[in-house]
């Protein structure tokens, strides 16, 4: 059965992606967001080639304001801020993507199981609602404090506490998919639950999962910046939030070294805005109800 459907399914998928891109292209906000994201992803990937200095290397040029030598000046240890910012892009984005992957995976699994299996729905949604009410940021602080500052801890803590919203959205999508005729007919010809989940439900929730993941990435970047600012992230991984933390505790902020703390905040805001724009654009395309009337 799988072999028979194989090539046809890839053809369908190709067509779908083409249609999707056609709709996405016409969404101005979405395209702006996407361009910004691609720009930052490019910086993150090629940080090695772009950064003029090693961001961890000390120098005697301490607290220098912006100059030709150091476009964004240096910090109290003589480290080049521009290079820190470029490497910070890599860390902030990586933490955001990994944490969002964890939370989307958990939320997606719970949403699919709850939506498909009526018996699990009650208990899983109870748990989800409880997690929705428990304030996640203070719990992240608590767990990060107990587990100690490490980049893996931060990723995991953000990931395992940010899934409830995704679970709810995916569940309601699966609830409606389950009642469609193609699922009914598959059941009638004796397809197993596992087969239906894999062949019909999963491919149909994939776009929505993807849209949710995009929004989760921006949420994760904000959470990481917040945790880092409170000193709960890994000091050996200088993310944008970590640069802000250092600028504040090492007195750069109070001394008026604007070149140290203005750029990282601007980067966080720009990237989060870009993710939000892309997320909204995806939502608008996938939720035809929202399309412009």
């Amino acid at each position: 059965m799988k072999k028979l459907l194989g090539p046809r399914r890839t053809a369908v998928l190709k067509k779908r992606i083409k249609n999707f891109w056609y709709l996405y292209k016409s969404n101005k906000m979405g395209m702006i967001g996407l361009s910004i994201l691609l720009f930052f992803i490019f910086i993150a990937v090629f940080a090695h080639y772009i950064a003029p200095y090693d961001p961890y290397e000390f120098s005697l040029d301490v607290n220098a304001p912006p100059s030709w030598k150091h476009p964004l000046g240096t910090n109290d240890a003589g480290q080049d801020i521009f290079s820190e910012l470029i490497y910070g892009t890599r860390i902030s984005l990586l933490v955001g993507f990994l944490a969002a992957f964890v939370s989307t995976f958990i939320g997606g699994s719970i949403g699919i199981l709850a939506g498909y299996f009526k018996k699990l729905d009650g208990i899983l949604m109870r748990i989800t609602d409880i997690f929705l009410v428990i304030p996640s940021f203070p719990l992240m602080i608590l767990l990060a404090a107990y587990l100690g500052p490490s980049i893996n801890t931060v990723i995991l803590v953000i990931g395992i506490l940010s899934w409830p919203y995704t679970a709810r959205v995916i569940r309601s999508q699966v609830l409606s998919l389950r009642e469609r005729t193609f699922v009914e007919s598959a059941k009638v010809i004796g397809a197993s639950d596992f087969y239906i989940l894999r062949a019909y439900i999963l491919p149909n929730v994939m776009p929505l999962l993807f849209a949710n993941m995009v929004l989760n990435v921006s949420g994760a970047i904000v959470s990481e910046a917040g945790l880092a600012f409170l000193g709960l992230s890994d000091v050996t991984y200088k993310s944008w939030g970590m640069i802000l933390y250092f600028a504040r505790i090492r007195g750069g902020f109070i001394r008026g070294a604007y070149w140290w703390w203005v750029p990282p905040g601007l980067c966080i805001a720009t990237v989060v805005l870009a993710f939000t724009l892309v997320g909204y654009a995806l939502d608008e395309i996938l939720n035809p109800r929202l399309r412009k009337r």
Binding site: G226, F229, G231, G265
Partner: protein, 327 residues
Amino acid sequence: MGLRKYIVKRGIDTSITFFIIIVLNFLLPRLMPGDPVSRLIGTRVQMSTEERIALLKRYGLDKPLHEQFIVYLKGLLRGDLGVSLSRYPTPVTEVLMYGLPWTILLVGTSTILAIIIGTLLGIISGWRRGEKLDVANLAVALATYSTPVFWIGMLLIFFFAIKLHIFPVAGAFSPEHVAPGFSLTYVIDVLRHMVLPIVALTLILYGGQYLIVRNSIIETLTEDYILTARAKGLDDRAIMFKHAARNALLPAVSYAAIEIGLIVAGAVLTETVFSWPGIGTIIYGAVLDRDYPVIQGAFFIIAISVLLANFIADIVYGYLDPRIRYG
């Protein structure tokens, strides 16, 4: 389902969550890797053996887990959340109770301001959809919504406190100039300290409210009864406020409840950057000192407050919108 039955049902749900928060609060410090005893009562050199044994007994740490839980519950009933490690032997409850009014003052004011501003701008924007005013509003709201609150705080401090000296840099009052109390100078001093943190928190909170109200208005304007109102010859103002806004505001009420997470995170970070003496700054200090009982207690207080706020929001919503009760 009548309103009473609905309240009872929400009450039961809330109680279950309440119990789970209590269990979580008990288990977390005890099940995390490492030594729970040192986390709960600390390992300070100046603590005598007798003191240590007394503390172990007080929290039942020499007993098995289920007996510890009973001791813990009895302690909770007395309001005992443990002892601060960095300010030993001050009880955690005392540390937190000092901060709570400051946090309520900051969060309450900002939330109310954010709801009012977000709603008004949302109505205007939704009504004038696509016009310059709407686009400008939308751009500003999206920008502030995406910006980390502590960075907004830093910008405000940099311009209005460090450069222009209009507002103080940090704190909630100036202890070197005025003594706390109900004097006019003290109130004015606190107000001066409040301005910047409130602006920062309001700026990141109003965006969510604005977006939901705007969307809701746009959706409502396509309804048939708006067309009817127009056909009746009502003027724009009457349609906007009497017909559209009233119905569009319902989803906004439930949205305020969802935003509580954002409010809490925003408050902790805003307080930290402004050294506002509330729960958030206490958490920050406790993180620096690795004062686990205080962080744990702060989480507990915040979780319970959020749970209560949610319960109240649910009831208000159920009262306003009968569809919820019967749905």
